[in-house]
Amino acid sequence: MSILFTIDSVTAGYEEKIVLRDVTMAVEENDFIGIIGPNGGGKTTLLKVILGLLKPLSGKIDFTSGDLKLNQIGYMPQVAQGDTLFPVTVEDVVLSGMMHDKGAMGRMGRIEKRRAAEVIEELGLSPLAHQALNELSGGQLQRVYLARAVSGSPRLLLLDEPATFVDASFEADFYERLKVLNNRMTIMMVSHDVGTISAWVKSFVCVNGTVFYHPHSKITDEDLRMYGCPIQLVTHGDVPHVVLHKHD
């Protein structure tokens, strides 16, 4: 597997305090990483640093190894952030995912609209393309924001708690779609629900001030303790409990 990009001893934070300290990791192409960790541990901050929205205080994000560009990153912020009463249609929102390749005076022509229609179709939103956001259910809204994140055909997809406001019944469908997308892009997904996502992700990163990379999708309480990752491991239903060999 080849490296898509690396994070080289990044320290980042806000005016008052440092959130991430000396973070180093390499992200492999086509990985599907679940980012877990306690609240305030720096999960969202990590995404912001990768996106270039927050400049690290020291260290750097190095895109050269995989020749990644900033405009090849798709981003799905926490769903609560958009104003769903704002008068905008599903198609318009999805089109905004293609603004990365355009300047401030960018127009959306036939090519972009066709591309948007493809993504809308792929995510099962076609009948809703010209609906306003306030007419959508939580699950539909979630797919609209996912469509926006992937309409620019990104090589890296960053998702921040994508399932927060969605019923459990929608969740499986959503992760199934991510699995398909994972065939053509690397995915990093922040989640608080380790139990559910462990069925879908390929590896875990625990972020708690610094990061610990766990290269398997099965993670145990013992692992979390070892990483200093104070998260309760929850398993749903009849998930077989897997005990992994100790890392050396």
Binding site: L51, L53, N71, I73, Y75, P77, Q81, G82, D83, F86, P87, V88, T89, D92, V93, L95, S96, M99, H100, K102, A104, M105, G106, R107, M108, H130, A132, N134, R148
Partner: protein, 279 residues
């Protein structure tokens, strides 16, 4: 001679109505969809301080209003962007302060302030060529600005955090938008008045949003609705001698009530159809 006077008056009124409608369509849609109605009210009333100062200094009160309007709009945007205030409280304070400053200066100005009522309630009779030209320029600037940066402005308004991932100029665009909106509001004061201007800018977009949620359509259709409302208001106030601003607001609110009635009829007939189809 009287015919000529009437002719120029009608042309002037129609031009004023056109320019005001364009500002209502563009700035109004922005204000309503971004939920800046209360902030706009603050800007309008703050600009009354500028009107008073203009009287006191003997300069064009509209210039004073423009300076106060622009300053308060940018100031509030700056403070709310830095999260340094409870926004509604600050707007409320600015609102009252502007009116207070205006009244104090007018009180201090010797003699009678002749057109004061027209600033509060609006009057097409007092609109000068300079006012019309200024309104025309701001309308043209708003059209060019929105046409050039349509997508960027739409997406910054909708989801600023996401917009930051594709443009570094989110803050710059926000200040320009708010500044232009502040100016558009203030330059409408002569015609619609401090007290009425808010209705002129917000009712048309609200009417159109009952029927469509497409941003561009809202801009175009609320311009049309404003033009109809303002022209009708002018005509009525011309024939009945009622204050122009108040008449326009009354007409627009009437439009709004009719639109609501049509909308609820539409909804109930849709429901009937659904029930029939499901039987």
């Amino acid at each position: 001679m009287e015919n000529l006077f009437e002719y120029t008056f009608v042309v002037r009124s129609l031009l004023g109505a056109l320019f005001a409608s364009i500002t209502a369509g563009l700035a109004g849609t922005y204000i309503v969809s971004k939920r800046l109605v209360f902030l706009s009210g603050g800007v309008t009333h703050a600009s009354f301080g500028g009107i008073g100062l203009g009287y006191y200094l003997g300069i064009n009160p509209v210039v004073g209003a423009a300076v106060f309007g622009l300053g308060s709009a940018l100031g509030m945007e700056y403070m709310s962007a830095r999260g340094k205030m409870r926004e509604d409280s600050a707007i409320g304070i600015l609102w009252a302060l502007g009116m207070a400053v205006g009244i104090i200066f007018i009180y201090l100005t010797p003699g009678y302030a002749p057109n004061l009522m027209s600033y509060l309630f609006g009057s097409i009779l007092t609109v000068t060529d300079g006012d019309l030209i200024a309104l025309g320029i701001i309308a043209a600037v708003l059209i060019i600005y929105n046409a050039m940066f349509y997508r960027t402005l739409l997406y910054i308004s909708f989801d600023e955090n996401y917009a930051r991932t594709f443009t570094r100029h989110v803050d710059l665009f926000r200040y320009i938008s708010v500044g232009l909106t502040g100016l558009a509001i203030v330059l409408n004061i002569r015609m619609a008045g401090v007290i009425m201007i808010l209705a002129l800018l917000t009712i048309p977009a609200n009417i159109v949003m009952l029927f469509t949620r497409r941003y561009l359509r809202i801009i175009v259709l609320s311009t049309v609705v404003s033009f109809a409302g303002i022209s009708a208001g002018f005509a009525i106030s011309w024939f009945t001698n009622l204050p122009t601003g108040a008449t326009i607001v009354a007409v627009l609110v009437l439009f709004w009530l009719v639109a609501r009635a049509i909308r609820s009829l539409q909804k109930s007939s849709n429901m009937k159809k659904l029930r029939k189809d499901n039987r």
